[in-house]
Symmetry: C2
Subunit: 224 residues, 2 copies
Amino acid sequence: MIHLCCHALPVRGKYKDISEKRCYKEQGHAGACEEFHYLSHLSQFHKRVADKIKRDATKTTGAAWSSEEAGPNRIDRWVMLQPDEVLLRYGLDMSILKQTVVAKLREKAAPYSDCMDAAVKLTWLAYQMPDAPECPPENKDYLERRIGPMNRSSTTCIVCRLPLSFSLFMNAQRGKAEIETAHSNPRAHNSENIGFAHRECNIAQGSKTLDEFYAWIAGIIERT
Amino acid sequence: MIHLCCHALPVRGKYKDISEKRCYKEQGHAGACEEFHYLSHLSQFHKRVADKIKRDATKTTGAAWSSEEAGPNRIDRWVMLQPDEVLLRYGLDMSILKQTVVAKLREKAAPYSDCMDAAVKLTWLAYQMPDAPECPPENKDYLERRIGPMNRSSTTCIVCRLPLSFSLFMNAQRGKAEIETAHSNPRAHNSENIGFAHRECNIAQGSKTLDEFYAWIAGIIERT
């Protein structure tokens, strides 16, 4: 258990009136308040990974297709909790989007605190990949007290359950990394429900929950 | 068994010098020579299905992403059999495309006759979906003599092995039909290897052969 500082930080940008930003350091910490201090080491030495964790934890995913109708790309997940009439005040007209696009955006919505907890969980998982860099003691202590003990090589793909290599963060095909942030239930975004998966596993899971996916493939095996 | 007319038909368009077009009616047929006479009924009453069969049988698939680098979209599969230097004469510069894009285009290549046989097979399969329209006797006779006896409700998804409903051709999400043309081996395009699949099944199969896919999901089941 850990008591967090939770000091409110200044929010900038278009959505500042409907956003919050807090300090996630431990209560009584030294130095300036920060949201992502536990990512300091990855930010310095594996920036792509740190950026991915922040982005996936806090933003809706990008549209896989590009068109006016595709709607806003990479928007703060908590903004998507606001009703249509509020979003309209911010220039986001949900009524012109296709229903399927609205549904996709809305199911990515999550409160700020869930997103922040998800980022901690993803960082904790990344450091437990077999070939992950050593986690500096001060970050490790924080992550372990937030989530639990860390064991090297214990992070597996949430879909196929095989170990995930940290190096896959670097491999990219057509701009897509071979590791994706994945959800046991794709319609919920929180630390319980989040993890990493091979890109092909995440694609195969699609919009199914993991339970649905396993039942589905078990049915296929039975019929073949 | 059936002896085909095979009379060469005039070819138009950019690639006419490296394309062929033949009559696929039976030898000694009445009326004009035609490539796709057995699709006459679907073309009239279910144009979307007939067009899909012709397109998927003869063209490379469209790029899922749009950019200059994505290369040519929906090109005749047999054109993709030509070496780079020939394609260059037709304004298709393969050397400026990413290797992954070239590989994707090249693996969709197939001789004209394989594409034409694939179209017959897909038509034969479509008419055997549980809720397919009645196949007119003259078309049915041709299809059965080309491929084999037709039984209502015998067409299943090649991936999940569940019956496929003809009505799924009409349902479309974001412009994508719920039925896709699929291949037991995604790197071969011929009548043995082709069939229909649910969109989600085809996506889950990805670039694996069906054998690889079944082995992969069996492994997942074992580990869960």
